[in-house]
Symmetry: C2
Amino acid sequence: MKIVLLGSGNVATHLAQAFVAKGEEIVQVFSQNLNNAKILTDGVGGEPIDDLAAINYTADLYIIAVKDDAIESIANGLSLVNGLVVHTSGTTDLHTLSSKVKHAGVFYPLQTFSKTREVSFDQIPLCVEATDDIQLSILRNLALKLSTQVYQMDGNQRKVLHLAAVFACNFPNHLYALANQLLQQHQLDFEIIRPLIKETADKVMVNLPENMQTGPALRADETTLNKHFSMLNNMPELQNIYQTLSDSIKLMPK
Amino acid sequence: MKIVLLGSGNVATHLAQAFVAKGEEIVQVFSQNLNNAKILTDGVGGEPIDDLAAINYTADLYIIAVKDDAIESIANGLSLVNGLVVHTSGTTDLHTLSSKVKHAGVFYPLQTFSKTREVSFDQIPLCVEATDDIQLSILRNLALKLSTQVYQMDGNQRKVLHLAAVFACNFPNHLYALANQLLQQHQLDFEIIRPLIKETADKVMVNLPENMQTGPALRADETTLNKHFSMLNNMPELQNIYQTLSDSIKLMPK
């Protein structure tokens, strides 16, 4: 497949590398910053461009991997292409594309990407959606080349999944960072808490989290909850988080 | 070493199994419920007892692994023993024991235990503290038999670590459960989000979490934050958590 990539950020970079590794061809990389496009084409091949007027009209697939609020304007520049145009956003409607281009779809990889960290796509859930069954089938087959976990879902489900991912990834990572803040204040290294973080995640690989909850809030151990609360007297923000999440744990059905 | 175990819960069970696997001897298990003591001694050996008056006075080590608020009354029953008496609590002062018994210490394993899940102690941080250097050395050597990660720390540091563990384990697990609540409401299986949870934890095994944050709050992406917020209009509790944690992410130094 001949692929044009629109975007040069984390998702664009990881997707391009994964496609090339599977034998697909990147024919162009578009970025508003030509240098960023060049950095990516240096690694994966193709022509770097910074002008949508220079877009190749004969590619099979156009992947828009840019910030959500830039998707629509890029789609405007692709109204003449015949290939399938997809975006990689968890929160953007398929309609944002299908109202502008002939064949539209969504190719949403559910993962947290950092440029400095290698990811293997094998285990990354890929969520696909398309305007018709033929395009959907093209997209599914392409997704299955990268990953064993391919899910077809509608836009509403995808948005819920994106929101759930904030709860399951962004928020836990922030809580790790707050834990580290506490540790550092008392000359304790983050290293000491890593096995606990790993085990907490490992547990829910084979169990449901609602069955794995532990800690003072679950036990309604008010003595410990009060001790912790007073330890945070000088950190009202952490105290508020502690209270909010402990209250929520108490409300969970047992 | 001859060990008397006071308690028959998760921590007591896992510790007993780990000690026996390393060739130590469990001479007694005390529980207020004799049947619970028997269940444990059936697996690890020793005499089950439910009366502190029947305690063996010649053991080397007495491990109090009970709920925090029961530690003091158990310690009262051990005032005549010569061996080292330790508790396994993250939040209880050493003084709670040292005011009652001759030789006192703390042996706090930093991990989340479930009875149904095997744990390997090799990688579990063990935090030790004792009333004097001789007892501390005994405790360190014993801990090193179980784990490569043995930390000596004072009670204040241990309490901070316990609090940090709530942020790094109990709260993230609860957020996984809330994510699952969202998924289930829309016929999505928890399976789909497991790779994301795993990668989020894996990332901080080799990086610091403050450098690994991703998501709409970090990018101050108000469009997405507002979309998510309205999706939670019918779930005020989750909406409150979403707002509280997003605000906190925005406040983190970049």
